[in-house]
Symmetry: C2
Subunit: 318 residues, 2 copies
């Protein structure tokens, strides 16, 4: 699974997810066009199944398994959107999913995974415990591990979002998406550059989780150093597969402040009347930070998800 997926793999993924994943809408906002000077098309993965693009990759990888593999079960470790994606994609395929989660995971995330019918196994909060717990279950059951991003089938699935976006708006000058582990930006880059070698693809990261930016500069994988960015989906280091794709194909990476992430998240809520999670505000912040480079261009922005605790907002409430 360590081969870079091809354009053909993304086309096959699109067939596989058709009828199971939503074809999400593309929205425009006169407010954001006005303040950026660009012509922006928002691909709304916040309206995707489980509330995030992650369903695309998980469903593609799981539905590609043989019946025999599937019967031995699916496993992953995650407390985020990938956990829900694997739980739902397994359920739809009729397979049993086991999700390894740290015992301090937020209750709302535990409940969501539980609601999709997966079994939850709690571990200690260390990476070592997470890996050991997962490895033990795999050795006992033969379950297939679905990595959240460093997996060619997952990357191919994530690329289907850009495929739909480019079918709707074929003449984009540029696509921008956030970078966590790099699955989405990898699939997006392969898709976009295959369809149009002239298109630019840019990644966006929080300054507090700028490992991809530093890796891109250094030419080798640099670990994420802090886990306190508000953009909880992006606190992850790259994998060897996603790093290779980013290094080979991506045009640029822009980093943005926490303050700007929160500001753009709030403005999307207020102006566009849609709920996005902090990670989705990262590419918008990047566009506005460097707007002189984007003015007059036709730009696709992937809004990655909308899973946020509306009882706990990152701005002051009365």
């Amino acid at each position: 699974m360590s081969e870079v997926p091809s354009y053909q793999d993304i086309l096959k993924a699109a067939e596989r997810i058709s009828g199971y994943a939503h074809k999400t809408p593309v929205l425009q906002s006169s407010f954001f066009n006005q303040i950026s000077g660009a012509d922006i098309y928002f691909k709304c993965e916040n309206f995707q199944k489980i509330g995030a693009f992650k369903f695309r990759g998980a469903f593609n990888a799981i539905s590609k398994l043989s019946k025999d593999e599937g019967k031995r079960g699916i496993i992953t470790h995650s407390s985020g959107n990938h956990a829900q994606a694997v739980a739902l994609a397994s359920k739809i395929n009729g397979y049993k999913a086991t999700i390894v989660m740290p015992k301090n995971a937020p209750k709302v995330k535990i409940n969501a995974v539980h609601d999709y019918g997966a079994e939850i196994v709690f571990c200690e909060t260390t990476i070592e415990s997470r890996q050991a717990t997962t490895d033990q279950i795999i050795s006992e059951t033969g379950a297939t591990f679905i990595h959240p991003f460093n997996n060619a089938d997952v990357i191919a699935g994530q690329g289907t979002s850009a495929k739909e976006l480019l079918e709707e708006i074929p003449d984009l000058d540029l696509i921008i998406a956030p970078i966590g582990g790099g699955g989405l930006i990898s699939g997006t880059t392969i898709m976009a550059k295959s369809k149009n070698p002239e298109i630019d693809v840019v990644g966006a990261e929080p300054e507090l989780a700028d490992d991809a930016f530093r890796s891109f500069q250094a030419g080798s994988i640099q670990p994420v150093l802090r886990t306190d960015s508000i953009a909880d989906g992006l606190r992850t280091s790259l994998g060897d597969l996603t790093f290779q794709i980013i290094q080979d194909k991506l045009d640029d990476i822009i980093t943005v402040s926490e303050e700007n992430i929160i500001r753009e998240m709030r403005r999307v809520w207020e102006r566009m009347k849609i709920i996005i999670e902090p990670s989705s505000a990262v590419p918008i912040s990047a566009l506005l930070k460097s707007k002189e480079n984007f003015s007059g261009k036709k730009i696709g922005v992937i809004l990655t998800g909308g899973n946020v605790d509306v009882g706990n907002l990152p701005w002051k409430t009365d």
Copy 2:
């Protein structure tokens, strides 16, 4: 302007607003389908210009004026969505708008009207002061007053939302919408019953602002008695024109508790990832309150708007 608008008036309104108002999307939610047992189609006026359906009626009424009338200016009194609707519709038509607002109106609403280029005249917080201030400006300028709901052109404009909904989903069994002053439910009822005499149209109101429910029972206009419902768009008594339409044509009115309005508002945010204001949660609460009557039916719900202060939510935040 006191004649009941016809189906033809709504068709003309639809032509007039075409290219100026958004054709808003219709969304479905597997969550709400599951808990209601119905097949629900949400008409998303929260994505309309100014964030609410009110733009439809205001634009229709204002763009119907003669150039001479328009040049003398437009006036209304409102601190809600109608104020923004009149301000923007006037601006698009090249007319000057004056909005009379109580001096204690929320700053966010004052700013929104100001941003659309209208002049704001502040009055005392009483109905008498509001009316006297408005009357004086009309006598000085000859401006045209655009009533927020008791106006046939406004009602015809509001009916265009149901027109679009029925074009997209022609075989609805029922449409449900909230009742404030009654402009939306009146336009919706005329539209829906003209297109399909068999369709049911139901209104929904907060228990704390159940004047339309009481008026419907009594056969005469009953005033709203309290102004403390969270559904700030619905704290209004009916007008003679809207009462007449409701009395003649509406099938039923359901009232709902504040607690349920807040619960469904929050669940729409969490499950559908869209921002709706409390008034929009009222018809959903009504559906769920009487779900034995709606189970198995194909139902249109008009989500009226999304203008809410995201820094001041009606549920507990950390």
